[in-house]
């Protein structure tokens, strides 16, 4: 069974199987035999994988699994490949900037048709009294900038859309 996991923005396709005595996770880096056993704590587990044993705390959210391990907290996005194919509208997550929270547009630096480089500022937003500059996720051409300076936007509104990449 396949899953796509997303860690720090990077997607990895994995396949989980079972060899009769234990689970095996096939990743692009190789095969990992793994075992997860609950401890007494809320969300507490012992993970055995890659020859190491780790105590961790874990919570499964609707779209991501949160893991506290080695004193750090990680977020692992889960994508079901079947759902992704069904929901595809030609654009990928890479093509658009989605509002991380509601706010107001402070300034807009580009217009549709502009060619942009990865990391180039597209617009500045203000949320909770903090200004944030949003930058192009990749090289490309701006397709849409739905909001103008001074406009308010809601959570998950699309703030900038790049034209689909040509293959």
């Amino acid at each position: 069974m396949q899953r796509i996991f997303q860690i720090d923005g990077e997607e990895t396709e994995c396949w989980l199987g079972h060899d009769g005595s234990r689970f095996v996770l096939n990743t692009p880096n190789g095969t990992v035999a793994c075992q997860l056993d609950p401890t007494g704590l809320p969300g507490g587990y012992t993970l055995r994988a890659k020859g190491v044993v780790r105590e961790l705390r874990l919570a499964v959210g609707p779209e991501a699994t949160f893991v506290h391990m080695n004193g750090r907290t990680y977020e692992v996005g889960r994508v079901d490949p079947a759902e992704r194919l069904a929901g595809s509208d030609g654009g990928t997550g890479d093509d658009r900037l989605v509002a991380p929270m509601p706010g107001v547009v402070v300034s807009v630096a580009v217009k549709p048709g502009d060619t942009v480089k990865e990391g180039q500022p597209l617009l500045v937003i203000e949320s909770m009294k903090l200004e944030t500059t949003l930058t192009a996720p990749r090289d490309g051409v701006v397709a849409e900038m739905p909001f103008a300076e001074g406009d308010s936007f809601g959570l998950k509104d699309i703030l900038a859309q790049l034209a689909p990449e040509e293959e």
């Binding site: 996991f5 860690i7 996770l25 705390r57 907290t73 929270m101 909770m128 903090l130």
Partner: protein, 489 residues
Amino acid sequence: MTISKLLVANRGEIAARVLRTAKARGLATAVLSHVAEQEGPAHLIADEIVMIEGPTPVAAYLDIPQIVEAAKKIGADAVHPGYGFLSENAAFVAALEEAGVTFIGPTSETIDLMGDKVRARAFVEEHGFPVAPSAIEDDDPASFVERARTVGYPLLIKPSAGGGGKGMRIVREDSTLETEIETARREGVRYFGDGRLFVECYIERPRHIEVQVMGDGQGNVVHFWERECSIQRRFQKIIEETPSPALTPEQRDEICETAAGIARAVKYRGAGTVEFIYAQDGAFYFLEMNTRLQVEHPVTELVTGFDLVAEQLRVAAGEGLSAAQADIPQTGHSIELRICAEDATADFRPAIGDILLLDEPMGEGIRVDSGILDGGKVTTDFDPMLSKLIVHGPDRAQAIARARNAVQNYVILGVTTNTGYLDEILAHPDFASGDVSTGFLAEQSETLTAPGEDVSDLLMAAAALSDERLVSDVMQIPEMYRKMGGWRN
């Protein structure tokens, strides 16, 4: 006057913290809440919850007539404002006075004076306390450039109406002074609609050191030592500690006595904080006075053993100060970490989410002042600070070790927080040696947000094995196929 029922006109961790002390002193207690608000620890402590309304939750907490009315309705004879919201609002104090309700804090006159940066500075200077050399254009516009010159270089030009670092310009050479003044004026007009300027001496690599004071309103003032607050992001503190690693015992006495002197000069009533800019050469200058309890007051409580909210309540009830200066110790070392819902790797962008699992650290020398509960939601309605982790140790090294251990064991799952980032700061050699300035986080941002050890295989294994649907799907596949790596349908 006696106080028998206290309304806390605030929310989150500070409301809970104030309520705990009030209850321990035998007061009846009440706290405000807005319908959009999540249930928090304060709601579990207060005897009574008073609902307030407003177009936004924040607007409700700033609604003076509504809050005064709430206090009267429930028969509260005192209001504690916490920090933020109406805590430094002279009109609120006046409205409470008119309604016969005691405000836990200074007089409206003191709040007015200290709330006006220019007047406060002039007051402090007149009383012979150190302020940074400066020139204010409004004093005499014709001679502004000449007066700016006498401040000396480097200097900092600031818009009079400004804030948040906008329109500020550093000038290092006289030849560029006049053109920079013109540029700053244009920026002031653009950002604030006001081109008036002032300049002050620019302190290279400054530290932010502040002193906790407490006054009885009759001119008796004691200090509760200093706090070092140089670890700031976006001009906001995220780690505070006491004692400051920068001060010698002589400098400590000098800066603390200066703060107490300033508070004495205004016959300060209640808890306040005098903030200073501290230069690398040991000179320090008055920055401003905050006329309220600070977010970071717990570090002071842990080294002195005093409950500052209890002191505030004593003073407000006319019982005076509980201790003389000589009876206020500074024992061991304390550090506070502000736990915020934000992404330190993405310019501290505030994060939202549901708290799926919360497990706060406990143990000797560990205190958590929390505003969240397991199962709650983090929204953008309020400040991103969720809670404060405060530790105490016999010395600074042991306090740092304790803080690192505690923050590593602070489990908040479901919303991005800065716990890992705070631990990276504590682990930085410059933090360990105490060699920091207010620019530290910006200067070290790459080191502090560098990716850690790659544990992605472990994380994916944990995510896969905790995905119940995935595991059950796998177990339903006939065994002969299950075993085949890379099996596809």
